[in-house]
């Protein structure tokens, strides 16, 4: 069993100094690859050409790209994504613990919740929240708060409830899978040391479950960012709604859709980078050596190209 983990990888440094003569053979040709590459490039070119020839006022996109309304929409979209995910994650953890609990009442309630919210489209849920005034005319929280439902249910609150509660159902399943993935021996060892259930969960199980929970959660965040565009339907002024409004007023509907798409793409790309680093953090201890950051990879590449000797991972 090796204890020394100070191992460098990469083929560049593994060539033996004076081994047998290296094989020099004519490599197999792959003419098919050239053909398929040519076809793919031709298709791509024709699509780009079609868009360039289309009656699209490309100039409108940079003109409005940093428009105040668009920036405001971007911020609202981000705010909505973050808050909905917070509701989703907190709710998801609670639901997951409820589902795994030995109490049949709490676990059935959690099951029912997940069944309902996963089984209905989020757009329908949003409309239901928005129009719940038909069921509850007033909202009455005793002495703290009392108001008409329609003035209580602002677009922001509708959007938050709709997206957050729906997300909680998905997060519950992700969290449950994560908690179940931790070896039972860990719980036993922790209990044997005299640690309570809560401490075991918080200090031992959840940190290890995170490795399983984080990647799909990153996916959910990216998904959520895109799903927030649905809330334009309940009059919330997010990025998509702002772009739509500008497009209708300025007579450049399609252009503004492109603009919105570009913004969504930028935001999801930033989120993907963040996800990579969070995953790397929770991987500590599970792999002998942390994977390199993209920046380290680039550096290693450049270095190996220039010197062809040592590759540092």
């Amino acid at each position: 069993m090796t204890v020394d983990v100070n191992k460098t990888d990469g083929p560049a440094d593994s060539t033996p100094p004076a081994g047998p003569e290296a094989i020099k053979a004519v490599p197999v040709r792959h003419p098919g690859r050239y053909v398929s590459a040519a076809i793919a490039l031709a298709l791509l070119g024709s699509i780009v050409y079609a868009f360039a020839q289309g009656k699209i006022n490309w100039g409108a996109i940079p003109q409005y790209f940093f428009d105040d309304r668009i920036i405001d929409g971007v911020l609202k979209t981000l705010l909505l994504t973050v808050l909905s995910m917070v509701i989703g994650i907190v709710g998801g953890i609670i639901l997951a613990v409820m589902r795994l609990s030995k109490n049949p009442v709490t676990s059935s309630i959690a099951w029912f919740y997940i069944w309902f919210f996963r089984g209905t489209p989020v757009l329908v849920q949003l409309f239901v929240w928005f129009n719940l005034g038909l069921v509850f005319e007033y909202i009455n929280l005793g002495p703290i708060y009392k108001d008409y439902w329609s003035s209580f249910m602002t677009p922001l609150l509708t959007a938050l409830l709709g997206l957050g509660l729906n997300e909680a159902a998905y997060m519950a399943e992700i969290c449950r899978a994560g908690l179940l993935s931790v070896d039972e021996g860990q719980t036993e060892a922790s209990h044997a040391l005299g640690m309570s259930h809560t401490k075991t969960l918080r200090r031992i199980v959840i940190p290890q479950a995170m490795r399983v929970i984080v990647p799909p959660t990153g996916n959910e965040v990216i998904n959520m960012l895109k799903t927030t565009s649905l809330v334009s339907a309940v009059q919330f002024a997010d990025l998509f709604k702002q772009a739509q409004d500008i497009g209708q007023n300025a007579g450049s509907t399609v252009e503004m859709y492109f603009l919105a798409a570009a913004w969504y793409l930028i935001l999801t790309s930033i989120l993907s980078v963040g996800q990579y680093y969070i995953e790397r953090y929770y991987a500590r201890g599970s792999t002998r050596q942390l994977p390199p950051t993209p920046w380290q990879k680039v550096k290693a590449h450049v270095f190996s190209l220039s010197s062809r000797k040592g590759v540092t991972a």
Partner: protein, 253 residues
């Protein structure tokens, strides 16, 4: 000497399978008590009953004079709350066959965890003590390594240090060397031998007959959920009385 562990007719079933069929035994304070037997004989299950990782179905089990998992008032038994069970487990260290180190913590953090979380020891104090214990098991230089960077033998020694950090009065070893390369077994047994010499009460489920003979004060041979033979390890191992013990020992020795 008083009894650290006392079992009276302990029964344990998993569903319809009866694993322990009435175990009576006594572990004296300060002794090294070895449990041997074929797999499936119930020896690991019995060990896990001692710190209430498994609930017994019948009989009585005492640790240091106190009932395990229950409180007796008159002739009625009351189940202990989880927090009370946890409280009692503080005094009983356990070492597992598969080490069960916390993989997201370094060696020293593994040892520090329980004193900080359970006893409320300060971080600095816990670290100092953890480093002492790692030194004692010969791993002072591995304090900053994660379990995945340690060999099996090293992981098991960290696990022993982790259990010792709670200053237990009783240590349970569940086949501590069974998952190790033969070459690494010796290091772990050395640590256990040191521990025995320091006067720790130890219950050891093991297949290491050499260790049992050399270090053990008492030995029990279990098969099919009952104690078949017990006595001084040197006597039982060299001159087994029972036929089942003889056939088992002839295969493993």
């Amino acid at each position: 000497m008083t009894a650290m562990v006392k079992a009276e007719g302990v029964h344990k079933s998993f569903g319809h399978v009866e694993v322990l069929k009435g175990i009576d035994l006594e572990v004296k304070t300060g002794e090294v008590f070895c449990l041997i037997g074929p797999s499936g004989s119930g020896k690991s299950t019995f060990l896990r009953c001692i710190n209430h990782l498994e609930k017994i179905n019948a009989g009585r089990l005492y640790v240091d004079g106190e009932l395990v998992g229950y409180r007796q008032k008159g002739d009625k038994l009351y189940e202990l709350k989880d927090s009370e069970v946890a409280q009692k487990r503080r005094d009983i260290g356990m070492v597992f066959q598969r080490f069960n180190l916390f993989p997201h913590m370094t060696a020293v953090e593994n040892v520090m965890e329980a004193p900080i979380q359970v006893k409320g020891t300060s971080k600095a104090q816990a670290r100092e003590r953890a480093l002492e214990l790692l030194e004692r098991v010969g791993l002072a230089d591995k304090a900053g390594n994660y379990p995945s960077q340690l060999s099996g033998g090293q992981q098991q020694r960290v696990a022993i240090a982790r259990a010792l950090a709670m200053d237990p009065k009783l240590m349970l070893f569940d086949e501590p060397t069974s998952a190790l390369d033969p070459e690494l077994v010796g290091d772990v047994l050395d640590v256990m031998r040191d521990l025995a010499e320091s006067g720790m009460t130890m219950v050891v489920v093991t297949h290491e007959m050499g260790f049992a003979r050399e270090v053990g004060d008492s030995l029990v041979f279990m098969d099919g959920g009952v104690v078949v033979e017990s006595g001084n390890p040197r006597d039982v191992l060299t001159n087994p009385q029972h036929e089942r013990t003889q056939s088992f020992l002839s295969k493993v020795l």
